[in-house]
């Protein structure tokens, strides 16, 4: 085999691998979409994802509730009642904290920054029980505004975002801050008028990640939301699964699909920001 043939074989092989792995990654989701339009008899009769006799039964059933005052739509609204404040609070508090760490020197900064980063290694599981006890004392359990989920976001408690924003901030030239100071901006004005506009792509990335993570969060609502009508989509999907698994898969899968649809749409609209955001923390700096 000559060099040229060898190279062609290599290229073909690469595409074969990429496409095969791509199918493993995407097919389950495609199948899921198709399955919501299948009858329950057809569901597992074949491996194709296009329904033979498309039906809307799964979707119609997905709109019904399970005897309580909660259905997929009210649970979706509940989800975004805490996701949206959490996203906004996280981005603002993480930006301010990153500004403090990234742009100034003060006593103890090294130690505090190390402590902040060390929180990346503190598993949430260790904190669940004592936090629950603490929130219980605060009277936050089952709060109508989801205090245990929303409040920590006000205080930049997720080090990942602070770190990510510090890394991005490093690429904004310090000359700009100095020029702003000479023009009479105080440090807060420098942050809001100079840094924030330049940091916008990173702030958008942070917002997108927090949106995904807090929409997917299951443990938080499981612990802190007990009133049926306040439960978010993550809990509703679990409820639906427990009630219907074994006989109404099209309904369960339709409920599941609706619950992740906003995340999917956001991802497709902003995939480049995700990639930029995920690479910022580890590769630069």
């Amino acid at each position: 085999m000559g060099m040229k043939e060898q190279k062609t074989v290599g290229t073909v092989l690469k595409y074969v691998v990429l496409i095969a792995v791509g199918i493993v990654m995407v097919y389950p989701l495609l199948w899921m979409i198709g399955a919501t339009f299948k009858t329950n008899n057809e569901m597992f009769a074949g491996a194709g994802f296009i329904p033979a006799n498309p039906t809307l039964d799964g979707w119609k059933d997905a709109m019904k509730n399970y005897g309580g005052d909660l259905n997929i739509w009210t649970s979706m609204i509940n989800t975004y009642k805490y996701v949206i404040p959490k996203v906004i609070f996280t981005v603002l508090s993480a930006t301010i904290t990153a500004y403090g760490f990234g742009r100034f020197n003060f006593k103890g900064k090294g130690i505090l920054f190390a402590l902040m980063l060390s929180m990346l290694f503190l598993p949430q599981v260790v904190l669940n029980v004592p936090q629950y006890i603490m929130y219980n004392k605060f009277g936050w359990i089952d709060s109508p505004w989801y205090a245990p989920i929303v409040m920590p976001a006000l205080f930049a408690t997720e080090s990942y975002f602070v770190f990510m924003l510090v890394q991005f901030m490093r690429n904004i030239p310090r000359d700009l801050d100095e020029a702003a100071a000479i023009d009479g901006c105080n440090s807060w004005q420098t942050l809001t008028k100079i840094i924030m506009p330049m940091l916008k792509p990173a702030m958008v990335s942070a917002a997108l990640f927090q949106f995904m993570w807090s929409s997917n969060d299951f443990m938080g609502p499981l612990l802190y939301v007990t009133t049926q009508s306040r439960k978010p989509a993550a809990l509703f999907v679990k409820l639906s699964m427990d009630a219907d698994t074994g006989f109404a898969w099209n309904r369960v899968l339709a409920v599941s699909l609706i619950s992740i649809a906003p995340s999917l749409i956001v991802f497709f609209c902003a995939q480049n920001q995700f990639i930029d955001g995920v690479t910022a923390g580890a590769v630069k700096g």
Binding site: M25, K107, M119, N128, Y132, F155, I182, L235
Partner: protein
């Protein structure tokens, strides 16, 4: 400017006479910006972390309070077979998923780094599971795929294989839970891809002239240059693997016969189902120490294998 906030540089623009306090504020303005974080750190991290250690030496129950103090929880942890099994299962889970996930991520990133057409399309396809994989919806989907009459067994049926009961067989169930995590290799892959793109092309050219083959180049140039990213991925994946909860809780409820009960689930069961919060705290602490030891080992090992260019 030394140790001061550098905002003090254009001092002429500021009012001339300042009190001691104003001066102090000015010099430590950076500290003021991190005050919210410090409050959050103390209230939501340090205090719970510390109190969890205290609770772990008690039989704290949310309704009954504390009746007994001592090391009994820790004794139980290492003598109760159910708990030791969960600890071992969790370590196994981490050691199965982390390397496989990283190898898959690096392998695919390596292929994508050749001049591949439709790079963005592939990258998107591989990344989607990472975005959605942690959700309840995907755990439900996983159950649909691996149930006895699920999609996987239907496919196996086409080639004449009678698939096993993946989720109710103790030898398979944990692998299905592992697979859900390995399937989410996209985020690690994106990092590897960015790192691979940063490897200077002239290094490969020089190596080719010296007669080094592709494999040799991969192990002597590529791998050493991306070790910082391998290290970052390794650490973050270990910490995450030890916390896995959704997969086993939703797909197998920890079964069959506790073969998929991971530590996070055990903490949940003790703390929030049985209300034995002292015991739950002790289990969480044992896990924290395990993760801590692994992280410290990884950090120590760094100097032997991680190559920092600057």
């Amino acid at each position: 400017m030394g140790n001061q906030g550098y905002q003090t540089a254009p001092a002429g623009a500021l009012p001339r006479r300042k009190g001691k306090f104003a001066k102090f504020v000015e010099q430590n303005i950076g500290f003021i910006y991190i005050i919210p974080w410090i409050i959050g750190f103390l209230v939501f991290k340090v205090y719970p972390f510390g109190s969890s250690l205290v609770y772990s030496f008690t039989d704290f129950n949310l309704f009954k309070g504390i009746k007994e103090v001592g090391v009994m929880n820790y004794v139980d942890i290492f003598t109760d077979k159910k708990i030791t099994t969960a600890l071992i299962t969790t370590v196994k889970y981490a050691f199965m998923t982390v390397p496989l996930k990283l190898i898959a991520a690096l392998f695919i990133a390596y292929i994508l780094n050749f001049k591949i057409k439709c790079l963005n399309l592939f990258r998107t396809a591989y990344y989607i599971p990472s975005i959605l994989g942690g959700s309840v919806a995907i755990a439900v989907l996983w159950k649909a795929l691996f149930r006895d009459e699920g999609l996987i067994n239907t496919m196996l049926g086409y080639i004449g294989i009678q698939g096993p009961s993946w989720l109710s067989d103790t030898s398979y169930a944990i692998w299905i839970i592992c697979l859900l995590r390995i399937w989410q290799f996209g985020s690690a892959m994106v990092l590897f891809l960015a790192a691979l793109k940063g490897v200077p092309v002239d290094l490969y050219e020089a190596a080719t002239i010296d007669g080094a083959g592709k494999w040799r180049q991969f192990f002597t140039i590529t791998i050493p240059l991306i070790t910082p990213v391998i290290f970052y991925n390794l650490i973050t994946q270990i910490v995450q693997a030890f916390q896995e909860f959704n997969g086993p809780y939703i797909i197998t409820q920890g079964g069959p016969r506790n073969s998929t009960t991971l530590v996070a689930m055990l903490v949940y069961n003790y703390g929030f189902k049985l209300n034995e919060m002292g015991m739950a705290s002790a289990i969480a602490w044992v896990m924290f120490i395990a993760v801590g030891i692994l992280s410290v080992l990884a950090f120590i090992s760094q100097k032997y294998w991680v190559y920092y260019s600057d």
